[in-house]
Amino acid sequence: MALGDVSRFLLRLIVATPRVLLRFESIVRQVFNSGALSLVIIMLSGLFVGMVLGLQGFQLLQRFGSEEALGVAAAIGLVKELSPVITALLFAGRAGTALASEIGLMRATDQLSAMEMMAVDPIERVVVPRFLGGVIAMPLLAAIFSVIGVYGAQLVGVQIMHVDSGSFWSQMRAGVDFRDVTEGLVKSAIFGVACSLIAVYQGYYAVPTAEGVGRATTRTVVSSAVMVLFLDYLLTSAFL
């Protein structure tokens, strides 16, 4: 996967985007496919990650006698870091692989060639709506992950470990500012572009065989995971 080829592919998607926006319902359908269908896995993961964060955070903060800070610690950890990264990794595994294999199978069964023969651009009809669907869905999923995660941390911290509920919420309100939320949103938006681009690129250029589609699916997960972690480091440095 050469960077130049991917950049050229991204440029093709951007050029085709205005025409696709005229058929907004095709994007909404893909937001549903990528987003709504990933909702259960995102919510479950968010809950468990929040609960673990609540448990670990409580253990650590208790050593310094500041377990009331659990709310702000969990929220900042989730909003700035864990939500964008874990959502992106889960998205790559759930929606990214589905996108790559769907487009790859369309290539293998000549559906994309058939569209070309009907004078319909498959980039416009198939690729861009799926790409935009992923880009829109990712920040929404990350936001849901954060909200559920915070409730998971509250469940463990307040309900089980008996951290004071008022302190948990008030310290969170005081400690999390707009910049933290922005950082998380920017990260998840950029991860959304990266993961969706990798998935549609791998699917579109998949070798049109069963093995080729399988390889495209695997590459989607591996490339997305590495890219997300790499971008996370760059973005975290940039926001410091």
Partner: protein, 271 residues
């Protein structure tokens, strides 16, 4: 009386895949209003020729004129405009799997026209009736047999009333009844709709029964061409081997390889 100008004119066409020449000076003329079969052994580039005619591939050199358009200079917009005048039936039907039969046939109309829904419905049902599948309009592609899928794809290919209809191996994997249906449809649609049909196939006897002209490709060139009965009477070794289904001849049974005994006697670790 002069014969009409060919709708597809190919002169001295050269094309190679990974350095291996597929066409080495190919000359083909496809007359309008007729069913022309492109035949040849596997690997002779029949499907590649279709892809060149439809602009999915570009020839290295030579002249390729389709419906008056020079394919070597045609840009994307021109190519798409030309493709609206063509229909193509892919080997596996290539139906869009997320749309039902009706929507598959309606797809080109919805993409390229602003016709009212009532008219789209009438056009789609007319085309489905022509291929005998009006009753299957609500089925999904996964619910169709291979033959039905190909008939739906055929309905989709003719829904925009094309001038040229291209069939890529339309008989592969079909039972005798479905094969007979597709054969009759090729002939009937060609005559009723006034199309030009190009059929790539290696089913010699089937396609000979409906084709007006046959081109037999071998070794990157045209090995023989003419009416089906002319080919039946041909004394050319390639034609005899192909029509007779002989395992060895000008088209060798063995893929080129090193000396057989030498390879058998070579030590295992040499491989």
């Amino acid at each position: 009386m002069n014969s009409p100008a060919p709708i597809v004119e190919i002169r001295d066409l050269r094309y190679a895949i990974n350095g291996r020449p597929v066409f080495d000076g190919l000359d083909v003329d496809i007359a309008p209003g007729r069913v022309t079969a492109i035949m040849g052994p596997s690997g002779t580039g029949k499907t590649t020729l279709l892809r060149l005619i439809t602009g999915q591939l570009r020839a290295y050199s030579g002249r390729l004129i389709v419906a008056g358009q020079d394919m070597s200079t045609l840009r994307r917009a021109g190519l798409y405009a030309l493709r609206r005048r063509m229909g193509m039936l892919f080997q596996n039907g290539a139906l869009l799997t997320d749309l039902n039969v009706f929507e598959n046939v309606a797809f080109p109309l919805r993409e390229h026209t602003n016709l009212p829904e009532r008219l789209i419905r009438q056009l789609v049902l007319t085309k489905l009736q022509a291929v005998g599948l009006r009753g299957a309009a609500d089925l999904m592609p996964a619910e169709l047999s291979g033959g039905m899928g190909r008939r739906v794809a055929l309905a989709r290919a003719i829904v925009m009333d094309p001038e040229i209809l291209i069939y890529d191996e339309p008989f592969v994997g079909l039972d005798p009844i479905s094969l007979g249906v597709i054969l009759r449809l090729i002939r009937r649609l060609n005559d009723v709709l006034g199309l030009t049909s190009i059929v790539v196939s290696h089913d010699v006897h089937e396609i000979s029964s409906v084709a007006d002209a046959v081109y037999l490709l071998s070794g990157g060139k045209v090995a023989a061409h003419g009416a089906p009965r002319d080919l039946q009477a041909s004394t050319s070794l390639v034609v005899r081997q192909f029509i007779g289904g002989l395992p060895d001849g000008p088209v060798p049974f063995h893929f080129p390889a090193a000396d057989y005994f030498g390879e058998l006697l070579a030590r295992g670790e040499d491989r």
